[in-house]
């Protein structure tokens, strides 16, 4: 079926199978490679996208469910979003595989809660795993972005 949605601020249409996940559809045909598969069951956050501003796991969502909605990946964050720069300054990454999902989740948190406590940040990022163990610097990056 044809799915029409607002992807990173642009109206796009693509053909999606009924059982195809949003993750597969976004990555297909050399598409958005910043959205990455890891756990396949919505617990690791590597495939996080913002759906109407809220973080969701693209591996759990069927592509047709995104019809008519606004989907944002790290490429589509506004230029003035402070989170990516703060991740760079804090060197809050090693392999970088989980980083886009971390950034999107943190960006969404800061839009809702511009000055979160450390507890709130850890809670918000609780669904984003980083096997390299960059959490101390990720938390520091979110603190910087909120400052």
């Amino acid at each position: 079926m044809i799915v029409e949605l607002l992807l990173n601020g642009r109206r796009v249409e693509f053909e999606a199978g009924a059982g195809e996940t949003l993750l597969e559809a976004l990555r297909r045909d050399g598409g958005l490679r910043s959205v990455r598969a890891t756990c396949g069951i919505g617990v690791c956050g590597a495939c996080t996208v913002l759906l109407d501003g809220q973080p969701v796991s693209a591996c759990l969502m069927l592509a047709p469910q995104a019809a008519g909605r606004e989907v944002t990946t790290v490429e589509g964050l506004p230029q003035d979003d402070p989170v990516p720069g703060a991740f760079g300054e804090a060197r809050a990454f090693q392999c970088g595989y989980c980083t886009p999902g971390m950034i999107l989740t943190a960006s969404s948190l800061l839009r809702e809660e511009p000055h979160p406590s450390d507890e709130q940040v850890a809670e918000a990022l609780g669904g984003n795993l980083c096997r390299c163990g960059c959490y101390p610097r990720i938390l520091e990056a979110v603190r910087r972005a909120a400052a």
Binding site: I41, V74, G126, L129, G133
Partner: protein
Amino acid sequence: MSDPRVTGEARYAQDAERPGMWHAAFVRSPVPHGRVLAIDASAVSENVVVLTARDVADLGRYGCQLKDQTVLADPARHVGDVVAAVAAPSRAEARAAAAEVAVDYDELPAVFDPLAAAAAGAPLLHPSAAESANDPVSTGVRPLRGTNVCHRFRLLHGDVEAGFRDADVVVEESYRSAAAQHAPMEPHAALASWDGERLEVITGTQTPFNLRADMAGLFGVGEERIRVVARPMGGSFGAKTFTRLEALAACLARKTGRPVKAVLERDEEWLALNRHPAVIRVRIGATAAGDLTAKRLDCWVDTGAYADCGPSVATKLGYAGVGPYRIPNVRVDSLAIYTNLPPNGAFRGYGATQAVWASERTMDLLAERLDISPLELRRRNLLRDGDRFATGEVMHDVHFEDCLQAAAGAVGYEEDPRGKGLCVLLKGMQTPSRAAIAVERTPVGYVIRSASCEMGQGVRESLRLQGAALLGCEPGQIELPDPDTDSSPFDTRTTSSRSTYMMGRALREAVRDLELRDDGHGFGEVANPGGLDPDTGQGTASTHWHQGAAAAQLDVDDETGRVTVGHLHAAVYAGRVVDRAGAELQNEGSMIMGLGTALLEEVEYADGQVTNANLSDYGLPGSRDLPGRLTHELIEREGAEPHGLGETALPPVPAAIGNALQSLGLHLTELPMSAERVLDAVDARERAPVRHAEAAS
């Protein structure tokens, strides 16, 4: 310039593509041990290629230390062993087709425990296997013929029985550590294609030259006919070493005549490679004053269905278990043993994690028996500059006491040791090894060609910074292409925290060469000879020692068994730091992974079947699992060489936590220290409030 890892532009092995490529899926055995009687692929659609034993009958065996693997297994030796493979235009079609391949098995007896597998009469996994001719991974493999022992490492130093006779106190205990899963966020991925008689593999690997040698041996061609390109990895931690799915992708590409890409599903990661579970018995003797007189270690290291690098893990586990101590009499027997579990291989810590857990828990048992502070007992026996280790080598640039003292100080151990624990470790670097590198001047800067592979550990940044300092340019003027066996000079491999040190020294040589020549090219190479005699453990275990210590402060909820780590500190000898943020990230990441090993992580099996092969049931540490305080330090020395530190802060964490529990009367011998095991220890304390370690007769 934003880092591509932040912008999302980073591309990994799984992103590699070629026009016309197909996708692989694997048919895996549901039985832990069974001969393949028949494979029926008649239900598979015509637009799918199925790879069966006939297609690989012309190929030899491979394996980095023992040639005990074939591309397709028969018999299947573990649940998940690949007995057939398919390639199809899409991944979904390939997966569907793999599910339609029906396989009949004649099930064979299986064994899942290393002690049972090493016992007489156990079902044999590999009645015969030849030593590999691959670039030496250790200095010799010693299989015990007619058994499941694929390697026996022994270390003999002094007279251990006399040492125990001289002891006033002898303590003995046995420990287990569970299998763990590396769980890199990016799964294993490889893309293979043939250009006539030449194979090209784009893959996420730490070992491009070992992989090239394995592929050349397998296909019976010269190494110049194999090209391996190592893309950045989305994490590895040892998982992406030696040959994983590259041989299967290459065979599918050969049969289809197309490029074929293989990417593992998440649950397949637990079937591909895990960390060696180990059983370790430690016996240690000391005088009443606390001088160590003898130590004996017996280690059963479960390497699963294939040896992989299990022999060298058993070796390194064996000598790491001696610990950074002066002990006049030592005997180590460390066995790498086949079982019908998925293969176990390199994992950050490389045997030291399991050995340090057992050895350093025993130091606290001994301290309790001697009624000496665990800190004082360690200080009294630590190796110092100029001492000989049990391998016979003289120790240089020794900083164990600095590390231990720093760790103890960070948690206020000397003021009040209750609820606190310490651990100190020694870990070797791959020895022998070689590293070479090439530098080329360009109009805008320099190109540095090195086979050091990036997996997030920051080796490219380390080389860029070292290069900029040596060449007098900006880091941004240095281009570092991906490792490519066609154009990168030889390197043993990117393992054992060796690259900043070894490749950095080679780079220094290359820049010197560049300055001497007038063609804009420079080449540098360094080689560290050494290695241990596998029958005596004598020789040079490591030309460069990783030294560190950890301290933990914690509380236990006696009702639930929940351990709350209030403060975790690691102190690591860094020599000279090249990339401070990168070095700190290695400490932090190692400590957090160590926390997972200590408290959370265990690959669980039922009759050889992994029962928690997903990231919901297998507990990786998340942001809410961090200790109240996580601190660490890098100990430097003026004029010192950089010391590798990619792993050093992991192995001491479990024992620091276990020893903190012991200070509360809780005696844990198995990893992970799950809430259930802590509750058992709480019950045991209530039954026998003062527990003393068993005195051996």
